[in-house]
């Protein structure tokens, strides 16, 4: 008895999860539900990374996308609360045009994608050491740039959203 069928089955389940979650994010009118399903999509994606043998990437995926980005987006949803929209205002006016455009690009890409028929390789032992070595040797400079980008984004987000404390503003004016 062999267990070769397990991997394709898991892959099929995960890809159904990814695509269904993605479609739901676009189609659902309740934004909290959309955000949760986005988290579900990210989790399925992490499963795919595990299937590809990239566990470190999968764990970072869950840590960053589910643990941080989804929570941030839920924060955003809660701060910008508004009533249910009428159905007519759900989509933008450019919807038919967008559908044509997306289909026109997606179909060739899918055909090209299907032409890769070779199997993916799964080296054992995980990808942690290789990944770390690459990041801290060949990609050390981009890594530093990325850290500066993160810092700039953090400062930018604080500046954009910080409401000025009226008490403090009054104090500064007096000075």
């Amino acid at each position: 008895m062999t267990f070769d069928f397990v991997e394709p089955v898991i892959f099929a389940l995960l890809s159904i999860g990814v695509i269904a979650g993605g479609v739901a994010v676009v189609m659902l009118s309740r934004i909290t539900a959309a955000a949760l399903l986005m988290a579900f999509t990210f989790l399925c994606m992490a499963g795919m990374f595990v299937l590809l043998g990239a566990e470190t990437i999968a764990l970072f995926q869950v840590l960053i996308y589910v643990g941080a980005i989804t929570v941030l987006i839920l924060y955003g949803v809660m701060f910008t609360k508004f009533g249910d929209r009428p159905r007519a205002l759900f989509f933008q006016r450019q919807t038919p045009l967008a559908a044509v455009f997306v289909a026109a690009v997606a179909i060739p890409v899918a055909i090209i994608g299907l032409s890769f028929t070779s199997a993916t390789s799964r080296p054992g032992g995980g990808d942690l050491v290789a990944l770390a070595t690459s990041v801290f040797t060949d990609f050390a400079f981009p890594f530093e740039i990325a850290s500066v980008l993160l810092l700039a984004a953090m400062v930018g987000a604080i500046v954009l959203t910080k409401r000025e404390d009226p008490e403090e503003a009054a104090l500064r004016r007096r000075r």
């Binding site: 566990e55 589910v66 929570v71 924060y75 942690l128 104090l171």
Partner: protein
């Protein structure tokens, strides 16, 4: 055909092992929560000069069983305005990551669900997933106390995750592995990591208190301010799953991480001869830290939300970053000995502990001056 342990095909053994691990974890979580609630009540009682539970069973040992039975048999109450599926899903979202993190806890040499080579990262990841469930619970309750509690909790958990992870990084730097088994193996003998890295242990323990919503960081469920925070609308076994099981499960996981990373995990006298003794040592160490957490809960008052945030962002995170830089530089400079790292870490710890009162006093003084300046014109106008 290759034969794995117990003469079972390794391909079957791998999933079977996982199933056994999850089953055992579930068993341990359920019973651990019962035991810890009893311990918590007894220890609180002793510290506060009370008796604690003593009616049900000998020494009140069966009290928490009775409570659990009561919770299970309770009517399933759901307020009308709650948000359907989310309300039901939130306890599961809090519970599942906690349960999954038990898989990599090394109870003894060979008693571990899965020896991931990224075990530490796995635990951090699952710890960060709890936030999602709490935010959803706060949102779905459709209740302002719950929402405020949920948002507070999200802010707190995301903030304290940073010093927590930074503290783990310094251990990974010294040990050179993220696997829980390897980290424990590296601490054979009396030289456990806490002697080398006491500062990152202190940072981790403080952050872990906040991460598990324990006093003095239990603002998300501060009953005197927020009724019960994000738990307000929950009752019966949903409340039981969220609070009792998940909270105590998380406390156990965090204490297990502390034990493994800084106190040598299953290592202890006699483990070489009888490997199964490791389970005993591990459990004893874990429960020692759980008792410390309960002691802290009975001792310290709750922080205010701005104090909590400023302590994290202005105190813990800079110190944790400094700690990483110091450890990394010393580990590179002295690859053969760990003495410089230990000296530096103890020095940092002394500076941190001694420095807090001074910084706090200066902060209080400026706060008071600002308050006086803000009220002064109003007083003048009134008189």
């Amino acid at each position: 055909m290759p034969v794995g342990p117990f003469g079972i095909d390794p391909l079957i053994w791998a999933p079977l092992r996982l199933v056994i691990a999850v089953g055992l974890a579930l068993f341990l979580v359920l019973n651990g929560a019962l035991l810890q609630i009893y311990l918590e009540r007894k220890i609180q009682a002793i510290i506060q000069d009370r008796l604690g539970p003593y009616h049900v069973g000998p020494f009140g040992l069966l009290q928490t069983f009775a409570d659990a039975l009561k919770l299970i048999s309770k009517e399933d109450v759901r307020a009308q305005a709650t948000d359907g599926w989310f309300f039901v899903a939130a306890p599961a979202l809090v519970f599942c990551p906690m349960l999954a993190s038990w898989v990599v806890l090394p109870f003894a040499q060979d008693i571990v669900g899965a020896n991931l080579n990224v075990g530490l990262l796995y635990l951090t990841t699952l710890g960060s997933m709890t936030v999602l469930g709490i935010v959803i619970a706060g949102w779905a309750s459709n209740n302002k106390y719950a929402l405020v509690g949920g948002l507070r909790s999200a802010g707190q958990l995301i903030s304290y995750e940073i010093p927590q992870i930074l503290a783990l990084v310094s251990v990974a730097l010294v040990v050179g592995s993220l696997s829980m088994i390897d980290i424990t193996r590296s601490q054979a003998g009396p030289l456990v990591n806490v002697l080398i890295l006491p500062f990152s242990f202190v940072i981790y323990f403080i952050a872990a208190l906040a991460e598990t919503n324990r006093t003095p960081f239990d603002l998300p469920e501060a009953e005197s301010e927020l009724v019960a925070g994000w738990l307000t609308e929950y009752s019966g076994m949903r409340w039981g799953t969220m609070l009792a099981l998940s909270e105590y499960g998380n406390v156990t996981v965090v204490c297990a991480i502390v034990t493994t990373l800084w106190f040598g995990g299953w290592q202890g006298p006699g483990v070489e001869a009888i490997p199964l003794l490791g389970v005993l040592w591990f459990t004893l160490k874990v429960y020692a830290f759980i008792v410390v957490m309960m002691w802290i809960r009975a001792t310290l008052p709750r922080l205010r939300i701005d104090q909590l945030m400023s302590f994290c962002w202005k105190g813990l995170i800079p110190m944790a970053l400094l700690n990483i830089v110091v450890v990394a530089v010393l580990a590179l400079a002295f690859p053969t000995t760990k003495v410089p790292i230990a000296v530096a870490s103890w020095l940092l710890l002394v500076v941190f502990v001694a420095g807090i009162p001074f910084v706090q006093r200066r902060r209080l003084r400026t706060l008071r001056a600002r308050a006086r300046a803000a009220t002064a014109p109003a007083v003048r106008a009134a008189s």
